[in-house]
Amino acid sequence: MITYLRRIFRFGWTNFFRETGLNIATVFVLTITILLFSFLYISQGGVNFIINQIEDKIDVSVYLKPDITQDDLMSLQENLMKMPEVKNVAVVSKEDALEEFKERHKNEPEILESLEVVGTNPFYASLNIRAVSPDQYSAILTVLTSNTFEELIHKIDYTQKKTVIERLNNGINNVNTIAITLAIVLIVVGILVTFNTIRLAIYDSSKEIAVMRLVGASNKFIRGPFIVQGIISGVISSMIAFLVFFIVCYITGPKIEAITNGFNSFVWFGSHAVILFFMQLFSGVVLGVVSSLIAIRRYLTI
């Protein structure tokens, strides 16, 4: 068995380097396909980052009645935090609301003067609620408008924001659907192009395969070196793809960060380097080996 494996590996290795033209073509196509997978992977990271950013900007403010006690406020906050749909609840006291208002209008003296005319703090204490996902706000609202909390709440601004939230939610879902469809189409195209390139390379060897059979080589003895060649192509392609991807991420990192307001592709590369490397290696080797196995099958019938 060891002798068999050693021979299979030696045949595959020497064939790979003697049939350079076709193998360079195979490695090139495999590299492009692996890079395609990698770009889809990083795009998913980028799209998620942008979606999270947008989602983080969505919140619902619950304005509380002026006579609410501190205990009621804390109890309401605690109850909300226990809900799995709630990501965060920020308490804005009357004083905080007043300070924030003054800060926002510090360059508009007439507005600040009008506050002095009122004489008291006209703002309500409020809770700013962020849901884990934008489609969960209606569930949170249902709880808030239940009898338990209704008497503590003055107003909820969800109705005003509802349309915007729903539109964003639909937009995010559409982006996800388009991205998944595009990814599937590109993956299928990549796999088919790789498979056809390897099929052509094996077709080129069909006469040799016939000779091997006539000499008395068993199917596994014929198939083995082609699988080894598939593995070598996969490994070399994944290494080239990793290097190319590293360079592209390094060059485009700052630009992408500026466009997306915080998503740096090079930082992403750094934090995903290990998983990315193994993903590329795995996809390269699997594509190389499976394509070889399927392509060679028709030449081993008799």
Partner: protein, 226 residues
């Protein structure tokens, strides 16, 4: 050793290649198959190698019906037959040494046996100084001698040569036939398919003559008569 009994073969195109062919070849015989192009010589060899399936009759090799050999056992059956073809059928990406070694390696010969026997075999056919050449760097005669060395590497019970001199000039043709005679004298059965009159007449051995898929003559010391 080999028995053809009422063997017929018609291709899907409707061409009848062999029609009720009967003959027997014993061990250590040198038999020539002669006939015009299309007379059925190559089909006969393909059926013997089970590259093609026969329609009627049966072929026995050492008493065994070769049609009943399972596909998984075909490689070991073919290893008993050393083949030589007009177009050499060498592996272009392997050197002379590797082409011959390949035949031994598929038979699970050890590295020691390969290193010991391949130079000897190449010495037998006069290629001991061209071990590292690729087929594209050899002349036609040298390619055919490599193919002969490879056929011998599996220690076959018979050597089947299908038009081995078809692409060679008269000098190299005589050279190849004398190598085949040497192999026969060392105790191996040789089946030679050819339409070279000079070769057949000079050999003075058994000749089976085919015409339109039928055996029209089978003589112990035959001549090329068509």
């Amino acid at each position: 050793m080999i028995l053809f009994e009422d063997v017929s073969k018609t291709y899907s195109s409707g061409i009848k290649a062999l029609d009720k062919v009967n003959f027997q070849i014993g061990s250590n015989e040198f038999v020539s198959l002669v006939g015009k192009s299309g007379s059925g010589k190559t089909t006969l060899i393909k059926l013997l190698l089970r590259e093609e399936e026969l329609d009627k009759g049966r072929i026995l090799f050492n008493g065994k019906n070769i049609s009943k050999i399972k596909r998984s056992h075909l490689p070991s059956y073919r290893q008993k037959i050393g083949c030589i073809f007009q177009d050499y059928k060498l592996l272009p990406n392997k050197t002379v040494f590797e082409n011959v070694a390949y035949a031994m390696e598929v038979m699970e010969g050890t590295d020691y046996e390969v290193a010991r026997d391949v130079p000897k075999l190449l010495g037998l056919v006069g290629l001991e100084d061209k071990l590292d050449r690729f087929p594209s760097e050899l002349s036609g005669g040298e390619k055919q001698r490599t193919a002969i060395a490879r056929a011998l590497a599996v220690r076959p019970e018979i050597i089947v040569a299908d038009e081995p001199t078809g692409n060679l000039d008269p000098y190299h043709s005589r050279d190849i036939i004398s190598v085949l005679e040497k192999i026969y004298e060392l105790g191996t059965t040789v089946i030679l398919a050819t339409h070279d009159k000079d070769i057949i007449d000079r050999l003075e051995r058994r000749v089976i003559t085919l015409d339109k898929g039928k055996i029209i003559r089978d003589e112990e010391v035959g001549r090329f008569i068509l």
